[in-house]
Symmetry: C2
Subunit: 336 residues, 2 copies
C-alpha cells in the first residue's frame, strides 16, 4: 500500500504548491522588496528592522483518532509543537500563535481539551495565543479540524545548509508524531481491522495518540550555541525533507537504526514498501541535525540534556542532492 492509495496524491499536492508559489511570487514582486526567501522554505518579510515570518500547519486526520480516544489535548499540543519545530529549524523564534478549529458540532468539552493542550505547549515556547476562530460547520466538517498559525522573528542568522563532512545526527521521535495518518488509518481500518486492539504486543490506542515531541527549545539552543549547520523537522514527506538542507552538490549517506515497532507493524500489515515508508513517516527520527565533527560531542550532550535520545545516522559527502539510505534491517539500500 502507498500513500496515494490512502487518497493522498503527493504529485497533485505538489502541483498545488507550485500554483500558489507562482501567484505569490508575482504579488511579492509587485509589492517590492520587503519579502525575502520567497520560494524557499520560510519566506519572511523585513519590517521594523526585523525578519518576520508567518507559518501555518494543522494536525490533519490524526485528530479523528485523538477524538475517538478522548485525547484531544494532544491535538492542541501537536498543533503548536509542529509549527514551533518547523520555524525553529529556520532560526525563527515564535512570538505568538493564532488558532482555527472547525467542528461538526459545538463540543465544548472537546474544545476545552484542545485549548488546554495548546496552552501547555505555548507555555514551553513562551508565546501567547493572540486570537482564534471556531467554526461550527456540520455537513462541511466531520469531526474536528485543528490548525495553528504562528508569527516568528529571526534573531540569529542561520543558513540551514549542510556542509561536506558534516555528521548527521538524528533525534528520536515519539512514534508517529502527526504525519502519515491518512495511510495509518487506512492500514488500521482495512488491514488490521480496527483501533481497539493490541497487535504484536502494541496497544494501538497508546501508539496512535502519542504527542509530537517539542524540539523547539533544543533547536533554538543548538543554533544559538553555533553547534549545527542544518536542522530538519521530519514531518510531511518523511525523510525527503532532509534533502532541503543539501542543495544540489551534497549527498547524505545514512544508516538509520531499526524503527520503533509501530512502524514495523504498519509496514507489515499495510505491505508498505520501505522507500515509501521513509517518504511518509519519520521512522523513529523526528529531527535531523548536521554538525561539524568538532561540535558533535557538545551537540550530543545538549540533546541528552533536553531529555531526547540522539542517534548518529551518517555523514554528508559531495554528491547531487541525494539521500542514500542503507536500511540494513531490511537488507536493502535505496535512494530518495
Amino acid at each position: 500500500m502507498r500513500y496515494k492509495d490512502a487518497g493522498v496524491d503527493l504529485q497533485k499536492h505538489n502541483n498545488i504548491h507550485e500554483i500558489a508559489k507562482m501567484h505569490v511570487f508575482k504579488l511579492s514582486n509587485e509589492l517590492g522588496s520587503i519579502i525575502g526567501g520567497v520560494g524557499g522554505y520560510s519566506p519572511y518579510m523585513r519590517i521594523f528592522g526585523r525578519e518576520l515570518t508567518l507559518h501555518v500547519d494543522g494536525v490533519g486526520t490524526k485528530v479523528q483518532i485523538l477524538s475517538k480516544f478522548k485525547k484531544l489535548d494532544v491535538a492542541g499540543w501537536d498543533c503548536i509543537a509542529m509549527n514551533a519545530n518547523d520555524m525553529a529549524c529556520e532560526g525563527f523564534r515564535t512570538l505568538a500563535f493564532s488558532d482555527y478549529i472547525a467542528m461538526d458540532s459545538a463540543d465544548e468539552e472537546g474544545f476545552e481539551e484542545i485549548i488546554k493542550g495548546m496552552i501547555d505547549a505555548l507555555r514551553k515556547v513562551k508565546a501567547p495565543l493572540l486570537s482564534g476562530e471556531t467554526a461550527i460547520m456540520p455537513g462541511i466538517v466531520s469531526g474536528k479540524d485543528v490548525v495553528c498559525f504562528a508569527l516568528g522573528s529571526r534573531e540569529i542568522e542561520f543558513k540551514n545548509k549542510a556542509k561536506e563532512g558534516d555528521v548527521v545526527v538524528g533525534v528520536e521521535s515519539n512514534g508517529l508524531h502527526s504525519n502519515g495518518y491518512s495511510l495509518v488509518r487506512k492500514v488500521v481500518e482495512e488491514k488490521i481491522g480496527g483501533y481497539d486492539r493490541e497487535i504484536e504486543g502494541l496497544d494501538l490506542k497508546v501508539e496512535l495518540t502519542k504527542p509530537t515531541f517539542l524540539y523547539y527549545n533544543l533547536i533554538i539552543e543548538s543554533i544559538k550555541k553555533d553547534l549545527i549547520n542544518s536542522a530538519a523537522h521530519v514531518t510531511g514527506g518523511g525523510w525527503k525533507k532532509l534533502k532541503r538542507v543539501l542543495g544540489e552538490v551534497l549527498d547524505m549517506n545514512l544508516s538509520p537504526p531499526p524503527p520503533p515497532q509501530i512502524f514495523e507493524v504498519l509496514l507489515k500489515y499495510g505491505e508498505i514498501p520501505i522507500e515509501e515508508a521513509y517518504s511518509v513517516f519519520n521512522m523513529g527520527v523526528g529531527l535531523v541535525f548536521t554538525t561539524e565533527k568538532e561540535s558533535l560531542e557538545e551537540l550530543i550532550e545538549l540533546i541528552e540534556r533536553h531529555s531526547f535520545r540522539p542517534v548518529i545516522l551518517g555523514e554528508v559527502s559531495k554528491g547531487s542532492g541525494l539521500l542514500k539510505i542503507e536500511a540494513n534491517k531490511y537488507g536493502k539500500n535505496f535512494v530518495l
Copy 2:
C-alpha cells in the same frame, strides 16, 4: 426559522469563546505584560516598539455555494476582505497574510481560483501572502474550507468607542457578504427548493455569490483623517456587533433603511423573525461608523469617494449599551 434551526447555536458558540478566553488570559498573565487588549476585540502584543495583532477568519459555508457556481475566486477574495475589514476597525494595518485551505480532493483548478481571488484582494490592501497550507482530507472535509490569518500593526491610536451625540453612518453592503450562510442554505434548500432558480425576480446564483465589499482602505483613511469615533464591520452576529463600540452607558437609536430584496426573500420564505434577521445578517449595511456632527459631511464625501453608498442610520445617546431599532418597514420596534 432561526439560526439555531440551521445547526448554529450561538449560545454554545459563546460558551466556547469564554472557555478559550479563560485559558488565554491565564497564559497571558504568566507570560507577563507583552499582551494588551486581552478579552477585548483585538488582543495585541507590544513588541519591537509596535502593537502587533494576529487575526483569523474563514469564509465558512458560503464556500460550498461558490464552489457549486464555479465562483471560488470570491472565496479567496472574501477571506482576505473579511480579515482586513475587521482589523482596520481596530486601527490595524495589514502587514501580511497566511492561508489554510482544506479540501476533499486535490482540485488544482478550484485551488487556483481561490488563490487568484486572494491575490486580487491582497493587491488592494498591499500585503503579501507569506505562507500557506493545503490539506487534502477526504472524509474529514466535504468540499472546501478556506481560512486566512493576518498579521497587523497599529500605527495610529484609535479607541473605537462611540461618543454621546455621534451620528451613526452606515455603509452599504454588497448583499449577504459571507455571514449567515448556514441559515441561507437551509432556507434555500428546504423552503425555496434549490439554488438554480429565479425568485421574485432575483437570480439566486448572482445574489448568493457576491463578494464581500473591501472597506479596508476607507476605514484606514477615515481613522487617519480623524473623521470617526468608532467603526464596526457587520459580520457574524449581525448588527449586534455594533454594541461593542457603545460600552455600558450609551445606546444607539437607529432607523435602518429597507434591506435589499435578497434579505426580504430570505425573511419571507424562511419565516425569519426580524430581530433574528438583524442578529444574523448585515441587512444591507456592511460597515457602521459613528462620527461627530462636524465631521459628518467630510465622512460622507470620503465614503462616496471610495465608491460606496452612505446612509444615516441614527444617533448615539445616553443609555445602557442597547441598540434601539425602528424597523419602520416592518412596523416594529425592537431592542438588541
